[in-house]
């Protein structure tokens, strides 16, 4: 199967996030000034504008906020995949990320809003970065 489309660099906000995937780490940010959880990665706090952000490692455990199952995508990498899910996952640390739920028998029937999931890292053939995906917990 062809690789998933991968992030392109240089890109200053998301470099550290993707670097961390090489060590199977899911990272997020929190503002040291006002405690706002910041995601997707940025250089400033979305709550107060401060640039004093700390980087934290997520346990990778969360809940499916919502999802869809894509039956048709004309892009080659996905055209070969068959029906696949996309989902917003609410991580327990308080951030919401776009990802996919894998490791279910049939994505059209086996995924539910509210189900508990845990992160996994999917290796690609031609990229040093791993892709965070989620499996039923």
């Amino acid at each position: 199967m062809p690789d998933r489309p991968m992030p392109a660099f240089p890109e200053l906000d998301t470099q550290a996030y993707w670097d961390a995937t090489k060590d199977k780490k899911l990272i997020y940010q929190q503002c040291s000034a006002c405690n706002t959880v910041v995601f997707t990665p940025r250089a400033h706090c979305t709550g107060c504008g401060s640039d004093n952000l700390k980087t934290l490692q997520s346990k990778g455990e969360g809940t499916v906020y919502t999802f869809s199952v894509v039956r048709q995508n004309r892009q080659p990498a996905f055209a070969e995949m068959g029906a696949y899910s996309i989902a917003y996952i609410d991580l327990d640390e308080g951030f919401r990320m776009l990802s996919t739920v894998v490791g279910v028998k049939d994505p059209t029937t086996d995924i539910e809003v509210g189900m508990r999931v845990k992160v996994d890292f999917e290796r690609q053939d031609s990229s040093e970065y791993l892709v965070p995906v989620f499996r039923p917990a």
Partner: protein, 394 residues
């Protein structure tokens, strides 16, 4: 509150063909502007403001003005997706109020059908930015993004696919009364042309769960133009003016704890209704961006026609048809679901609202006085825009 007549739609033209290999997007714009000026009884030289989202061949940098051969005093190339034209109408109204211009044209042209642009099924998008780098690996198509809103709406409020299907059924009913829409269904090789049932919608192919094919808009060619004029000019034009009474603009996007079932309309609509001094219950015509069934359901709630979470029950029983009392008539031209969707259909919302208030619709609501046009652009489940325009007849 007294309604203030801020500016008026005085001319309009909708490109009649949905598949038109023999014309360019820029030609659609230029010809549509001429027709819309004729509709108003105004001339090419009267135009002193151009609003255009920069689509079409070589259309960036405000190039449409050069292509037209105009030298407008006001140029606005706001591009916020499908709702760009509600934003343009809002901006034109303000520019007219400031005295910067008197006759503004809004233009649109697209060859999405001829060029076979995969608008709904073309994700994931290429990487390289703060946002695309976080989305690219997952293959989130536009349809799937909207579908995630539907999935959450169903889980949170118990909304059903059968309820959402009513939106497709009502808009098809209107399309079958509109000869251009019927022709479009033929030109787009739509399989079952005719009235739809809820069962037809539910039996159509699943594209991205829970959205079925017949809950997704067409991909067509098309375009058109709208002329917005000052109140002084509007009193001299050919057709009766359709007054712009209020406007609102907003963006919304995914946040860590936000409610994905609430759209930018929840911010833009109160602004527009407030300025107009109009209540949602007074609205006769609801022109709501129907890229997908769920788009309409969410916006009926956010525009204030029903409470959040109650759209499913609200739309049951064909309530949004033009000939049913108790609710506004929805997308009486057939909408994006059954008439045309060249990519950014916001301009058609203004046009059909104006036709209704003029008494020219093919699904005319008798004595229609007040309309809302609400455009939605981008990705409803993440970054999207909402533009609300309240329109009134004398």
């Amino acid at each position: 509150m007294a309604q203030e007549r801020l500016a008026a739609i005085v001319g309009l033209y909708e490109w009649p063909k949905r598949k038109d290999p023999g014309v360019s997007a820029m030609q659609i714009k230029a010809a549509s502007i001429k027709h819309a000026l004729d509709d108003a009884g105004l001339s090419w030289k009267d135009v002193d403001a151009v609003y255009d989202a920069g689509d079409g061949e070589g259309g960036g940098l405000g190039a449409v003005a050069a292509y037209l051969g105009l030298r407008p005093n006001v140029i606005d190339t706001t591009q916020v997706g499908g709702s760009s034209y509600e934003f343009h109408a809002a901006h034109a109204t303000r520019a007219i109020q400031e005295g910067k211009c008197k006759v503004a044209v809004l233009s649109y042209g697209s060859k999405a059908a001829t060029q076979r642009i995969p608008i709904g099924t073309g994700g994931g998008r290429a990487g390289g930015s703060w946002s695309t780098n976080m989305e690219a690996p997952y293959g989130m198509t536009l349809i799937a993004n909207y579908a995630m809103v539907a999935q959450r709406h169903m889980a949170q409020y118990g909304t059903t696919s059968a309820q959402l299907a009513e939106i497709s059924v009502a808009t098809r009913h209107h399309a079958m009364r509109n000869p251009q829409a019927v022709q479009a269904l033929h030109d787009m090789a739509v399989q079952n042309i005719g009235e739809l049932t809820v069962a037809d919608v539910l039996e159509s192919r699943m594209i991205a769960d829970p959205l079925h094919l017949l809950e997704c808009c067409l991909v067509t060619d098309g375009g058109g133009a709208v002329i917005i004029a000052s109140p002084e000019v509007a009193r001299t034009t050919k057709k009766k003016p359709v007054w712009i009474l209020g406007s609102g603009e907003a963006l919304s996007y995914v946040t860590n704890t936000g409610d994905i079932t609430t759209s930018a309309a929840a911010q833009s609509a109160p602004t527009a209704f407030g300025q107009a001094g109009v209540k949602p219950s007074e609205i006769d015509i609801a022109m709501i961006y129907d890229s997908f069934s769920i788009t309409v359901a969410v916006m009926l709630e956010d525009l204030g026609f029903c409470k959040k979470g109650e759209a499913g029950a609200y739309i049951e029983g064909g309530r949004l048809r033009y000939d049913r009392p108790g609710a506004p008539a929805l997308n009486t031209d057939g909408g994006g679901l059954s008439s045309n969707h060249p990519g950014m259909r916001g301009i058609f919302l203004l046009m059909e609202a104006a036709r209704q208030l003029r008494g020219e619709s093919t699904s005319q609501v008798p004595n229609a006085k007040l309309a809302v046009a609400h455009g939605n652009g981008g990705f409803l489940g993440s970054l999207h825009s909402g533009g609300t325009i309240i329109l009134g007849a004398d």
